[in-house]
């Protein structure tokens, strides 16, 4: 899975920058900023011209942005959603890594579990919402369960991929030194598959965030998803959109943090 990601972002950047500057175009930062301004302007104008009064637009969002962000109820909602995501991810990291390592190194576990893990990974998490509410009730436990369901399988699959691709030499050295199976697993296989594990975590984090939001839509418990649902139903789209911005920021921030961690602490992880 992880191996099929498109080439690293840095690959083409220097030539792009050189090409733009070579032609006397404005430097890219200015270009990006002005594109942002143009996009916001287009949004504002289109909404003003065509859409009803309540539809979110940049000036409206800017007006309510700080008041909403400093609202205690909103902060509680954001905290509840993000905390559920963190808790769910923690469960998935531990359980998913364990299952993934097992699947990657023990053929019987791999053959026995593969179909279940792969098909549940392919299952849209939205589809199991009614089942989860049957089991856990309409409460925060249901949200946590959905977050775990959303993130567990991508952790397991990616860790298994990593554990399977440990170089033979490493395992041979471990065997020559008569390493015990446990220490081979934790001192050789786990570090070697860490980059895969982190790729899985990036995927899992995005899915976990989506899982938390759909669970709140469905279960109607306080959180960012429910904040969006409630405010857009009462036609306060500007307020609701602030929650979307927070969600995007959380997603992008997490992604950036993992990328940085991989690059900084895992030099052996630079594949492709």
């Amino acid at each position: 899975m992880a191996g099929l990601q498109p080439v690293s972002r840095d690959a083409g950047l220097p030539s792009t920058a050189a090409a733009t500057e070579g032609r006397g175009a404005p430097p890219s930062l200015l270009l990006k900023a002005s594109a942002g301004v143009v996009l916001l302007l287009v949004w504002e104008i289109v909404v003003r011209a065509l859409a009803p009064e309540y539809v979110a637009r940049p000036t409206g969002i800017a007006k309510v942005f700080l008041p909403v962000l400093s609202d205690a109820q909103f902060l509680a909602a954001a905290g509840a959603t993000l905390w559920a995501v963190v808790q769910g991810l923690a469960i998935s990291i531990v359980a998913g890594t364990a299952v993934g390592l097992l699947m990657g190194r023990v053929p019987t576990a791999e053959h026995g579990l593969r179909y279940y893990v792969n098909s549940l990974f392919a299952t849209p998490m939205v589809a199991i919402l009614p089942l989860v509410t049957l089991w856990f009730g309409y409460n925060a436990d249901a949200r946590l369960a959905v977050v775990v369901f959303a993130s567990f399988f991508s952790m397991a699959i990616n860790t298994a991929d990593g554990a399977r691709s440990v170089p033979m030499e490493f395992l041979e050295v471990a065997r020559s030194f008569r390493a015990r199976p446990m220490s081979t697993m934790f001192d050789v296989v786990l570090p070697s598959s860490l980059p895969y594990l982190l790729a899985g975590l990036r995927l899992a984090a995005g899915r976990a965030l989506i899982g938390a939001v759909v669970a709140e839509f469905f279960v109607s418990i306080p959180g960012l998803g429910y904040f969006i649902l409630y405010n857009s139903r009462t036609f306060r789209h500007d307020d609701a959109f602030v929650a979307v911005i927070v969600l995007v920021a959380a997603g992008v921030g997490f992604e950036a943090a993992i990328k940085w961690l991989t690059r900084r602490y895992m030099p052996w992880g630079r594949r492709g």
Binding site: P6, V7, R114, A122, P124, A127, L131, V213, G225, I228
Partner: protein, 255 residues
């Protein structure tokens, strides 16, 4: 290399694990209340019933219409736009960060806005599937375009290749494998979008079958519909992987 004996034990393990799963499903169904879980046999009976009375076929067709419409628009917009951004470097530099941001946006969060602006009906639901599908295609196509080696374009230019020939012989073949990665992601995300739209906008299709099952305490009906969606998800993911692999070989001349 796997020997024949290893092959045999592998199949035995797979069959045993599937049989074990079915047995656990059946026994768990008998041991718990019907509201929580029903045996596999009851689920299959319910599946047979909806298959016989045509409900499944009708609802699946409705779901597929929605899914394919959204996905088709997603690919039809995402891939050409990605190629355009590939060719026009300044536009790509200007927009790529915003596209990355939209790619990372959980699109489910926009469903309530779409609901209150566009109401019920087919168009808003197709828009949801489209939003789920378009950004993976766009993002990956741009990533592919970014990795086109400038030499290739220079060579094409030195041979006085026209703009159309350049697109046909360099740009499109080069970015296609990356676009396919995007299409694989779009195939999977589109399915999530489909079920989400059928749940949270106007109920229809397979999503409605799940909802009706859960509202009528017909757990067997709900599990049958979920089972269909799981199988659909697996089939679509395999299709996506096949497409991606089929064109991945073209990445060969990437250094």
């Amino acid at each position: 290399m796997l020997s024949r004996k290893n092959d045999w034990t592998r199949y035995a393990t797979i069959v045993a694990s599937l049989a074990l799963g079915a047995a656990v499903w059946e026994i768990a169904g008998h041991m718990t209340s019907d509201a929580f879980w029903v045996p596999l046999s009851a689920t299959l009976r319910s599946l047979e019933e909806v298959l016989r009375n045509g409900v499944l076929l009708r609802q699946a067709a409705s779901s597929f219409e929605l899914y394919l419409t959204g996905l088709a628009f997603g690919v039809a917009v995402g891939a050409p736009l990605g190629l355009l951004l590939a060719r026009v470097a300044w536009l790509r530099v200007a927009l790529e960060d915003y596209i990355l941001m939209l790619y990372a946006t959980p699109m489910v969060a926009l469903i309530p806005f779409i609901l209150s602006m566009m109401g019920f009906g087919f168009a808003p639901k197709a828009l949801v599937v489209f939003l789920f599908a378009v950004f993976p295609v766009l993002y990956n196509t741009i990533e592919g375009a970014r990795s086109i080696r400038p030499e290739l374009i220079e060579v094409a230019h030195s041979f006085r290749s026209g703009e159309w020939a350049l697109w046909r012989d360099v740009m499109m073949p080069y970015t296609l494998p990356f676009a396919m990665t995007g299409i694989r992601q779009a195939i999977a995300r589109g399915l999530v979008g489909m079920v989400a739209a059928e749940f949270f906008l106007s109920p229809s299709g397979l999503g409605q079958m799940i909802m009706m099952g859960s509202q009528n305490f017909d757990t067997a009906g709900m599990l049958a519909a979920i089972l269909i969606i799981v199988l659909l998800g697996v089939a679509l993911m395999d299709l996506g992987r096949y497409l991606e692999k089929r064109f991945a070989a073209w990445r060969g001349y990437n250094p």
